[in-house]
């Protein structure tokens, strides 16, 4: 007796009685139109952005699925499989997205952040320090076991100027990613080479990479602005201080 072992995808709707309802569920979307070529191209783009941080690549192969950008979806189709538990941030989590990922990648969807191999975050989740602290950075024997973050942004501009330096960057890159300081601090806190988080940024169909080896800091002009703000606040505080001092003194003087 021989039993062919066919990898059947988890499917809904195998009934005859409640046939329509059973299979209606959440609509499935086609994956890559040419699975082999598209997956290879997306993988190539992912390698490129990771080896040249700050460079953008266009991922036209993915389609928008339930609020997930084309680039994020294409990246998941190419990288996720049965061995990579995927964590999805609550704002992006949608039954249709889960159904499609499970169908096309057969990947487990996890709610336990420490076991996630891939995590999809919106910009709100990317600023949640406690949340970022829970993703795995690998261990010293297997730093490659870290979690790869896919951070979905509205675009790659509009933030404070940052300077990126490190391997794969000829001198330095100045980037304006719309991310606040909490994100950069959380990343720095999690990065202790060789451990750390590798991050893909996606916006629409565009992809950018930020490996753990890249050093980021606010650029000089930004630092100047920050300094001037701090100075102003110091000045205000200094101006306030004597006044309050005087006020405090006043009763003593009058007495």
């Amino acid at each position: 007796m021989m039993l062919p072992e066919v990898p059947m995808a988890k499917d809904k709707g195998q009934g005859t009685g409640d046939r329509r309802l059973a299979s209606a569920g959440w609509g499935l979307e086609p994956g890559f139109s040419d699975p082999v070529r598209d997956a290879q191209q997306v993988f190539r783009a992912a390698l490129t952005v990771m080896s040249e941080p700050g460079k953008t690549q266009l991922l036209a192969a993915g389609r928008q699925v339930a609020g997930l950008h084309g680039a994020s979806y294409a990246l998941l189709l190419a990288l996720a499989d049965a061995d990579t538990p995927v964590w999805i941030s609550p704002r992006l989590d949608h039954p249709a997205l889960r159904a499609n990922l499970v169908f096309h990648c057969n990947c487990p969807i996890t709610v336990h952040r420490p076991e996630a191999a891939l995590a999809v975050l919106d910009d709100e989740a990317a600023h949640d320090t406690d949340l970022l602290r829970e993703f795995s950075v690998g261990d010293i024997r297997r730093p490659d076991r870290s979690c790869t973050l896919i951070v979905q942004l509205s675009g790659f501009t509009g933030g404070a100027p940052m300077l990126w330096r490190g391997p794969g960057i000829p001198l330095e890159h100045r980037l304006f990613l719309p991310l606040a300081e909490t994100f950069w601090l959380a990343r720095e806190e999690r990065n202790a080479f060789p451990l750390g988080l590798d991050i893909f940024f996606t916006a629409g169909e565009h992809l950018m990479g930020l490996p753990r080896t890249t050093h980021t800091q606010y650029s000089d002009e930004c630092a100047q602005v920050l300094r001037s703000i701090l100075r102003k606040e110091d000045g205000k505080a200094a101006r306030k201080a004597p006044r309050t001092g005087r006020r405090r003194k006043t009763p003593g003087e009058s007495a």
């Binding site: 007796m1 021989m2 039993l3 062919p4 072992e5 066919v6 990898p7 059947m8 995808a9 988890k10 499917d11 809904k12 709707g13 195998q14 009934g15 005859t16 009685g17 409640d18 046939r19 329509r20 309802l21 059973a22 299979s23 209606a24 569920g25 609509g27 499935l28 979307e29 086609p30 994956g31 139109s33 699975p35 169908f103 096309h104």
Partner: protein
């Protein structure tokens, strides 16, 4: 794998679907082709376009021993979705992409509202063709059949 965990599905439904999927995978592509225009009359989407791959065939010696890998076979699979949001699957031995697509379409239509008409017209016909084909083959084999039970081995007669 938690494939059939949907509590709304009765085991008879699953058996019925297994039965028609068996019929479809064993059908001759020539018997399926006449239905092509009708199957494709309504718009549908290829969720997983027909693709050729390998599946490991496992076996047990004498059907009871430990499972072992016998070898790989070529399998073509396809998944379609009709306008009724029915999702049809097919796994076909061999490399016939057209067969896989048509079989998946039949599977999808069989889950739709016109289940009965598809069952009567397509599956009944394919079943009849398959049975007659199998009967013909059995007849052809029977003509050269040797019944080994009539042979007597002599080694025990010596003593």
């Amino acid at each position: 794998m938690d494939t059939n965990q949907d509590p709304t599905l009765a085991s008879s439904d699953i058996q019925a679907r297994q039965q028609w999927m068996y019929t479809l995978s064993h059908a001759d592509i020539a018997d399926l082709l006449p239905f092509e225009t009708r199957l494709k009359a309504e718009p549908y989407q290829l969720i997983r376009p027909p693709e050729i791959g390998m599946a490991m065939v496992r076996g047990r010696m004498g059907a009871t021993g430990e499972a072992f890998n016998l070898g790989e076979m070529t399998v073509t699979r396809c998944v379609v979705q009709t306008d009724e949001a029915c999702i049809g699957y097919s796994y076909i031995a061999g490399r016939d992409k057209k067969h896989a697509e048509l079989a998946a379409l039949v599977d999808a239509h069989l889950q739709g509202t016109r289940h009965r008409s598809w069952l009567c017209q397509v599956i009944a016909l394919l079943d009849a063709r398959r049975l007659s084909r199998q009967a013909g083959e059995a007849r052809r084999h029977d003509s050269t059949r040797v019944d080994f039970f009539t042979l007597v081995r002599g080694e025990n007669d010596v003593a």
